[in-house]
């Protein structure tokens, strides 16, 4: 069945062109995945609330934190506020997109029947998932560029002691953090109704931003830090700070993130319903 094959003789007595003549077939997987990723990134960036979460809030936290750090009097163990806050805000941005945006977008895709309709298209489920991951990485990359730019503008000076360790540590933290939060986000979206997902994903984001050890080091939380350090938010924040402040790799935090990623994936695989 190709576009060039002639219409069967005698099938249509009239000579009108057969505009709807069947010629079915799925596009190659790579093309479908890229199309899906483009579509989802575009929709994420078009959505005002998600943009607020992805860029505006992290920028406010960074600028406000740097400006107000001296007055709050938090002990940053001799480091400049901008050097501590920038890696934390990068971690916050990853969390906002991978968890909150993914959960809300997927929750409403289920509600609106988008996932159902795609389920009757040639795009297979694993293609849809790959498309989602690519879209998510696109948006995270954009966020990191913007926020790192703002940080540099505010005088951020990441440790230059061991650039290779810094980059490796940050990349690992972002990859594992994205995986952990996206798996948890999909778990919430797949288990709850869209409205409940919206509420819970925003609430969890706010709670973790305020008390989850993501923007500020866990050491600033006093006695609570022994609990907080096991949260995915704190693990991501600490891994980013260790990479960009101390230029070393925080193996323990990366392991915590990996464990959350596994937990989230198992929970999602067991409970997620596409419809």
């Amino acid at each position: 069945m190709s576009a060039d094959s002639p219409a069967p003789l005698g099938a249509a007595p009239d000579t009108a062109p057969r505009a709807f003549a069947p010629d079915p077939g799925g596009a190659p997987l790579g093309r479908m995945v890229r199309a899906q990723a483009r579509m989802e990134s575009r929709l994420m960036l078009r959505n005002g609330e998600q943009l607020l979460l992805a860029v505006v809030i992290p920028v406010i936290v960074l600028v406000g934190g740097v400006a107000g750090a001296d007055r709050i009097g938090i002990d940053l163990q001799g480091h400049r506020p901008v050097d501590i806050l920038t890696p934390g805000v990068l971690a916050l941005a990853v969390m906002s997109t991978a968890f909150t945006s993914v959960a809300i977008a997927t929750g409403f895709e289920r509600r609106y029947g988008v996932i159902k309709l795609l389920g009757s298209s040639p795009l297979p489920r694993h293609g849809l998932l790959l498309g989602k991951v690519l879209a998510l990485l696109n948006v995270v990359a954009l966020q990191l560029v913007v926020l790192a730019g703002v940080g540099l503008g505010l005088g951020w000076d990441p440790s230059g002691a061991a650039p290779a360790s810094s980059v490796l540590g940050a990349v690992l933290a972002i990859a594992l953090g994205t995986a952990a939060f996206a798996a948890l986000g999909l778990f919430v979206a797949g288990a709850l109704r869209a409205e409940a997902t919206l509420a819970l994903a925003n609430l969890v984001y706010l709670l973790l931003m305020a008390g989850g050890g993501v923007v500020l080091p866990t050491s600033t939380y006093g006695a609570a830090s022994s609990v907080i350090q096991w949260l995915p938010s704190a693990a991501l924040g600490e891994a980013m700070r260790t990479a960009l402040v101390d230029a070393t790799i925080d193996g323990r935090s990366l392991l915590v993130l990996a464990a959350w990623a596994v937990l989230g994936t198992v929970l999602t695989a067991r409970t997620f319903r596409w419809e």
Partner: protein, 312 residues
């Protein structure tokens, strides 16, 4: 087109949700190149049956074959060959109409020209409108465009004209007829008799999860034991006229007064009934101006088989 296997073959399908049986031993066949209507009241099991063909639901009992394939086992091979129009939804709320259509086109190997298709469906004016701001009829037309854009062999359309104005309904019907002419098989569900009568080559009437009768529109409405008689008289009926007429005609007849000078009589399709109505008019001193034995409709067929009215 190969015509070896039917487009759809369902045999003894059973689907239940909890203890609610939605489909109860349903069997039907759809021949290739036809428009086949699955007609029935809301809740008859139409959508569940369709969704089993589309691979969304696993048959609990019975077998389903679509284009000779098993919608579950051969899902990957089947999906590119069919088009699906859902009863509602299916798009992101913020996506623009044309953007959505182009996205669905990009998932196919040889899609139709989206601009031409949108024009045909009257979506030219709302191409940049976000989905959430489209009217009900526009959403339906976009859904139909999405079902057709991949040049499928077979399309499933669930209540295609629900929420459309009469003009859009006619356009949609003409489009579906053109699609059939070009060799696409169309399976549509509807609870509108006029839609089934006008469009379908073959109709399966289903009720309570099972096919109660099948045939071409002509076969289904031909003959039969009952018909609708329309009676219009020259001056208002006396008080209690419907009851009195029913007493004369017998218990198998239904009489419904439409206004003060007209009635619909549903009963045995024979001249004896016409004679009785005519005599009743004489006795009650009204003159029939219209007394005709209407053509049997699908509504009559449904009423005869189930004792209930189809109209929702």
């Amino acid at each position: 087109m190969p015509t070896a296997s039917p487009a759809v073959e369902i045999d003894g399908l059973v689907m239940a949700y909890g203890d609610q049986v939605a489909v109860d031993g349903l069997s039907l066949t759809v021949a290739r190149g036809t428009i086949t209507a699955v007609l029935g009241p809301n809740g008859a099991g139409k959508t569940t049956t369709l969704e089993t063909c589309e691979g969304y639901r696993v048959p609990q009992r019975g077998t389903v074959r679509v284009l000779g394939l098993d919608p579950q086992r051969d899902r990957a091979a089947l999906l590119p060959r069919i088009g699906v129009m859902l009863q509602a939804g299916g798009a992101w709320s913020g996506v623009r109409a044309m953007e959505m259509l182009e996205h669905m086109a990009s998932l196919h190997a040889h899609p139709l020209d989206t601009a031409v298709l949108a024009e045909r469906l009257g979506l030219g004016d709302c191409g940049r409108t976000p989905y959430r701001r489209l009217s009900g009829g526009q959403k339906q037309r976009l859904g139909l465009a999405i079902a057709l854009v991949g040049r499928p062999e077979l399309v499933f359309v669930d209540e295609p004209t629900a929420g459309m104005d009469p003009q859009a309904r006619r356009t949609t019907w003409e489009l579906l007829e053109e699609v059939r002419r070009d060799g696409v098989t169309v399976v549509l569900t509807t609870h509108h008799m006029d839609e089934a009568e006008r469009l379908a080559d073959h109709i399966h009437i289903i009720d309570r999860g099972t096919v109660i009768t099948s045939g071409t529109p002509a076969e289904l409405t031909r003959g039969g034991r009952s018909a609708t008689i329309r009676l219009v008289v020259n001056r208002p009926f006396p008080e209690g006229a419907p009851e009195s007429l029913r007493t004369d005609l017998g218990p198998e007849t239904e009489v419904r007064q439409i206004d003060e000078v007209s009635m619909l009589i549903h009963g045995p399709a024979d001249s004896a009934t016409l004679g009785l109505v005519s005599r009743w008019c004489e006795e009650h001193d009204v003159l029939p101006q219209t007394l005709n034995l209407g053509q049997r409709t699908l509504e009559d067929v449904f009423l005869e088989l189930t004792g209930r009215e189809l109209a929702s």
